[in-house]
Amino acid sequence: MKENYLALEQLSVGYHNKSLIDDICLNVRRGEIVTLIGPNGAGKSTILKTIARQLSMLRGDVVIDGSRLNEMTFRELSTRMAVVLTDRPKPELLTCHDIVAAGRYPYTGRLGILTHEDEAKVDEALETVHARELGNRDFNAISDGQKQRVMLARAICQEPEIILLDEPTSFLDIRYKLELLSILRRMAKEKGITIVMTLHEIDLAQKISDRIVCVSGEHAVRAGTPEEIFHSEVIRELYDIDNGFYDPVFGSIELARPEGNTPQVFVISSGGTGIRIYRELQQENIPFAAGILYENDIDYQLASLLACKVISERPFAEISPETYEQAVGEMEQCQRVIYAGVPKGGINARLFDLVRLAADKGILEEV
């Protein structure tokens, strides 16, 4: 059991004495990755800025490693906490190396002159974010994604125990997103650095985080493991989505299912062969039924989100006559039946009866 590192105790956050969210309680253990998710304007950044002491807290307390935030000097805090914020510095004539070196601030002397050790730390931090070759470049002349990595290097260089990141993945393309998150993961697991961040990509949040905090509304701060939080309904409610889905199994975002409740097409598939068909039908906005799918089939997962009707069977069981009849009934109402290929097995023989039936009716299309 790892110790608690950061605690928010009935914290109220907001701007100009107007509280945005009240009574936030959260305990974060050392080396944990905690991600704040929630819609725009819900107050994720506000919470983060309050913990970073960029905003003063309205009520409650933030405790870092046993010390109360407001009782620490800025210097003390700076040796424990580093931040990567959304606002980027716009310095003139400073190299990336200079920017990263600013992270050594709490450790350098009166005039801020870097020792060899400091220089080595700067190099190491740049190396960690794979940005060594950027060292001598002018900070204003590099891309947003590169800037983000340099800012992370700056935070690493500060040798903090906790890093706060406000939307670190915005501006990054998918490759750098993954790279950044794996760097964070490594720092958390290998160096025991606690990471608290906000993310817009809930799919990535699910995969990287040890804990998720949902932020929306005045009191609604709900924390839990990704398994607890990532249910389609929780996410729909959190973001107030009415035109799409979040698929918690694949961690992917799906557009809305085709409109209408009477299926026009019946899809027979298995083991992923149906996924492409489902998506095509979804794009053309044609309501469809899918079956007969075993409940552990990956097609079942997507079908249950996109199809208006799914005929399913318990895993590894022979298709029962009732299920078969149900499927026939559903199929007969459709104008088209699409057969996407199913591996033949002992227990799914009835599926092929269904295919034959469709062929006899002349509505079968094979793809």
Binding site: A52, S78, L85, P89, P91, L93, Y105, E119, D123
Partner: protein, 355 residues
Amino acid sequence: MKKNIPAIPAAAESFQHENLRRRSRYTMVFVLLFAAFCVMTVININSGNVHISLDHIVRILFTGQGDIKETNIIWRIRLPRILTAAILGGALALSGFLLQTFFENPIAGPYVLGISSGAKMVVAFVMIVALKYYSTISSYTMIVAAFAGSLASVGFILLVARRIQNMAALLVAGIMIGYICSAVTDFIITFASDSDIANLHGWSQGSFSGMSWESVRIISVVVFITFALTLCCAKPISAYQLGESYARSIGVNIRVFRIVLILLSSVFSATVTAFAGPISFVGIAVPFLIKGALGTSRPIVVIPGAFVMGAVFCMFCDLIARLAFAPLELNISTVTSVFGAPIVIYMMISRKRGR
């Protein structure tokens, strides 16, 4: 692509190489600046209505022997003036640099933000009152008056800046304050007696003439102490260049730091205004030039660099002011404007192009 970066030592070497390159560039710039400083000093001593030859100058300066008239000209008139121009020039440049840091705005400076005018107004007022009732005025009183005026202007600009987060609006506010203060100054002068006006007029246009050793002593004490304090702020200034939030996150107490910045820059501009009157453009042009020359904006090198370059710049401008239409003398601000304004315009154009 990143994975293929061959070996760490090679990269580390490139950093060291870069460091070496930087250091030699800094050294070169400082050597050139000091050379320019020496040249300007010699030319300044050497030139004027009375010509004094070089060997006479050397003899007078280093052995104290020579023609009495020449000795007097050098020791009583030219040398104090040169030193004043140098020290106040440095002070002006640093005042501008500090204000630019504070407002995160490259065209901030004591003159454009109306800080010099504020100082001028209060000094004019104090001067007239003091001359009326006490018939003398001490240098320290002048500095304190100028300092109060500077702070009043800065305070007003800060009030405006808090409401408008806009670079252009801030400058407009500063220019307006400048006009208001000049108007009030004119108003005060209108009601002053003739002898005061004569006194005020020369001063309010800006000039390094008529400096005594006493003034030089006071100026150097105030400016060098402030300079040392500014150099001590190099570290927080470098943090502040990343923006307020980052500076705070690496341990800068922003509230205290901002107050210190304003006080330091006000002391600099107040000293200049108290002794030489308001002088334009040096505060913007010199920091820009020195950053370009050094190729960095790291305060630890920019602060001393700006000081020396400000000194050279003002000595040069003062030389032009004295010689261009000799025996008539120009206002120092006239000359600094002629050389400074084009630099500022160039700076704005090159900045636009850079984006």
